[in-house]
């Protein structure tokens, strides 16, 4: 709805919380990318920066939360205005989780920096991180553009990250089977990969929120899934 409110300060309030959300999204995206780079380049300085930067993300989430509470109390938003506030709150919560995953990735990269690399797995993790961030960025773009087509597309694309995670899972399993000394780094890398996979899930849920925001309905039909690791066992080894 592009038509302005009769009370223009209502519009300014709604725009303000959305601007905060976009700033938060930008911080989370670069936190994940920086953490992945810190892992790949064994850059401890960058990893520390990401670890400490999570405070700013958490503070933004708090601010968004209290601004939304104010908006609900003072403006009593209805219909699409209400959906904006509800969506902003849920997306902020999802972004906050993604920020935590970035921080966790940074912390593990500090440990992994002192271990020998496991083949090309670090590169695979970084590619996965970039894909997840792209997904997140697309879903935030869909939010700002109120683009339900893009949102539905993101929702259907969750499969590629799941597939990357599956193949990484198998690769890490192989390393661990070949050499017990690989278990420690492989476990760290696995947690990182799992967290990145969750970032992808959060991006999907942001996309679902966008569909709710635009249409007023939560998409119900089953979305495609390709995470098969829950049913993968040692028999996957050749």
């Amino acid at each position: 709805m592009t038509q302005p409110h009769i009370i223009s300060s209502f519009d300014r309030d709604l725009e303000a919380v959305q601007a905060l959300l976009m700033r938060m999204g930008g911080l989370v995206e670069s936190a994940i990318l920086d953490a992945a780079e810190a892992l790949e380049m064994r850059d401890e300085g960058l990893a520390l920066k990401v670890r400490d930067g999570d405070k700013a993300i958490d503070a933004l989430e708090q601010q968004i939360h209290s601004e939304c509470a104010r908006l609900l109390a003072l403006r009593a938003p209805t219909a699409s205005d209400l959906r904006i506030v509800l969506t902003v709150m849920r997306v902020a919560a999802a972004l906050e989780r993604c920020g935590d995953y970035a921080k966790n990735l940074a912390k593990r990269s500090l440990i992994l920096a002192h271990m020998s690399p496991l083949g090309g797995t670090t590169g695979s993790v970084c590619r996965m991180a970039k894909t997840a961030v792209l997904r997140l960025k697309d879903s935030l773009d869909a939010f700002i553009g109120r683009d339900k087509v893009l949102a539905a597309d993101i929702r259907d694309r969750d499969r590629d990250i799941d597939q990357m995670y599956n193949s990484l899972f198998r690769e890490l399993l192989t390393h661990m089977l070949e050499d017990p000394r690989a278990i420690s780094p492989a476990m760290h890398l696995h947690f990182i990969a799992k967290n990145i996979e969750r970032v992808g899930d959060h991006a999907t849920s942001v996309a679902e929120q966008v569909i709710f925001l635009v249409t007023g309905e939560v998409p119900e039909e089953e979305r495609p899934k390709a995470d098969a690791t829950a049913t993968t066992s040692r028999s996957t080894e050749e």
Partner: protein, 265 residues
């Protein structure tokens, strides 16, 4: 299914109390109401919202033939209550209004005692044979209107001496004393302070157990708080009619959306 529906708000009642089909109203040359179809559900609070001059009060006044008293008004279409045409020439409008009570914007008690205000309707309609019966009707009506405890010791005092909120509840007591089936309320809280408004709103919710309530209100928040069904009128048209939660979270029509979110409609 609308995911925003609060279970308590679910309108389990699906029986229609009053039905309007193709209702048109003209005031002289002015086409005030255009082809309105509404089914007002039994024991449900239905709110009519919309900007000034949209036809919501006009429609409310059709429901008990109050427009009969306006010389220039012409009402067309079919309106039934429990399947009976209320515009049938054999229907006595006075009897109809005993069944379809009304409460107005400003509290308008008669310049009589509190007791007489409530006893007036039952008396003229011959609903009580003895003084004891009349006393009981008055007490029951005042209790239902949540006013009894405040006035039971001064029933002989003039109704006009009560506070605004009490006067409005007295008018509600007067309206329900004749045991109507439908209660029409035309902005019943617009002259009341927030506390008195809350008391009247609580009362409306309680009345739902016995009556069908139709309320016209300019306060969208009030419509959202008290009603189970909401109808949005605009320029004489009924734009949208549905479950209140759905109207306020996900209206189907862009005009409803623009109005309830406070945009230029």
């Amino acid at each position: 299914m609308n995911v925003m529906t609060v279970v308590e708000r679910d309108v389990s009642e699906t029986r229609s109390k009053m039905d309007a089909r193709g209702v048109q109203v003209w005031y002289g040359d002015k086409h005030a109401l255009k082809d309105v179809d509404v089914a007002i559900l039994d024991r449900t609070v239905t709110a009519f919202i919309g900007p000034s001059g949209c036809g919501k009060s006009t429609f409310l006044r059709c429901l008990n033939r109050m427009n009969d008293t306006v010389a220039s008004a012409r009402v067309m279409g079919k309106m039934t209550m429990d399947g009976q045409d209320i515009y049938d020439p054999r229907v006595d409008p006075v009897q109809l209004r005993a069944k379809v009570g009304m409460v107005f914007q400003k509290p308008n008690p008669f310049p009589k005692s509190i007791y007489d205000n409530v006893a007036y309707g039952p008396k003229i309609h011959g609903l009580a044979r003895t003084k004891a019966e009349l006393d009981e009707i008055v007490e029951t009506a005042l209790k239902k209107a949540a006013l009894w405890n405040e006035v039971k010791d001064r029933l002989a005092a003039p109704g006009t001496g009560l506070s605004g909120g009490q006067q409005q509840r007295l008018c509600i007591a007067r309206a329900i004393a004749t045991s109507p089936e439908v209660l029409l309320m035309d902005e019943p809280c617009s002259a009341l302070d927030p506390i008195a408004t809350a008391q009247v709103e609580e009362l409306i919710d309680e009345l739902r157990a016995h009556f069908t309530v139709v309320i016209v209100t300019h306060s969208m928040q009030q419509a959202a708080r008290v009603s189970q069904r909401t109808a949005f009128f605009h320029l004489g048209n009924l734009v949208e009619y549905g479950e209140t939660g759905q109207i306020f979270t996900n209206p189907r029509d862009p005009r409803t959306e623009a109005y309830i979110t406070g945009r230029i409609g």
